[in-house]
């Protein structure tokens, strides 16, 4: 569950908008890694953030039908980083976006599982016919800052 957080002038916001295509996911990853490094997250945490963002972008590209762009928004809070990944596709209902049980290995179905494992708070919101918004939050670890 996502904790309610204020949005305002004191909360620095960085936004990246990319075409919904595989070749641009690396840019989203790099941008988030740069923001995270500026915030003094440590290397492991930066790697987690890159992976979570890439998984979210990959899902937007593969599952959000008829969406042509992805907007990645980073908000720097005193206690950590909030990242919102928004697509504009025809989404699945939020309840259907879930991590599967990890049983017999199969191709696919690991993205949402990884996002939930790597981030501290994760929330999907599906806006009727206007896409999926994933909001996730990572707190500063003890080792960062």
């Amino acid at each position: 569950m996502m904790q309610a957080r204020e949005v305002g002038a004191e909360i620095p916001e960085i936004e990246v908008r990319i075409p919904s295509r595989a070749e641009w996911v690396a840019l989203a990853r790099l941008a988030v890694a740069t923001v995270a490094a500026r915030m003094h997250f440590n290397v492991d945490e930066i790697a987690d953030l890159k992976l979570a963002v890439a998984e979210a972008c990959t899902n937007a590209i593969q599952h959000a039908r008829e969406s042509d762009e992805i907007v990645i928004t980073c908000r720097i809070y005193p206690d950590g980083l909030q990242i919102t990944i928004r697509d504009f596709g025809i989404g699945t209902e939020a309840e259907r976006i879930r991590s599967r049980d990890l049983g017999e290995p199969r191709v696919g179905g690991l993205g949402v599982y990884l996002i939930r494992a790597l981030m501290d708070e994760v929330e999907y919101r599906v806006e009727h016919d206007s896409g999926t918004v994933l909001t996730m939050f990572k707190r500063f670890g003890d080792s960062s800052r």
Binding site: R106, L110, G111
Partner: protein, 114 residues
């Protein structure tokens, strides 16, 4: 931001595939094609050297799982080489550590296939 791939053969039947770069939604189809072609030609035993893979995500894991399934149908096997803590962490949290044997060096990964 891209991936380089190489293959060399050990003992005639073991393919050592070296991957260098990032494996994501953009590059993993290239890796899939590269490994797929080797399987098509009758190679079913792989040591995949990921020591120079700086990044891998679920699309890359999907390619490895898909490759493993194909070679197993022919009694083949796949071992991996990686010392990257982040890579190991991802195999860990996805449970794939129980599916793939990950070694610290190519020699070990190749020996395990013999």
């Amino acid at each position: 931001m891209d991936i380089q791939m190489q293959v060399r053969s050990v003992n005639g039947s073991i393919a050592v595939v070296s991957l260098d770069g990032e494996i994501d939604v953009y590059t993993s189809p290239k890796v899939k094609e590269f490994i797929g072609k080797l399987i098509d030609k009758g190679t079913y035993t792989f040591a995949i050297d990921m020591q120079n893979v700086r990044y891998i995500d679920s699309t890359g894991l999907g390619v490895l799982i898909g490759g493993l399934k194909r070679v197993r149908e022919h009694g083949g096997a796949v071992t991996l080489v990686s010392t990257n803590p982040q890579t190991r962490k991802i195999f860990d949290i996805t449970g794939l550590i129980k599916v793939f044997d990950i070694y610290d060096s190519v020699d070990e990964a190749v020996n395990a296939l013999k």
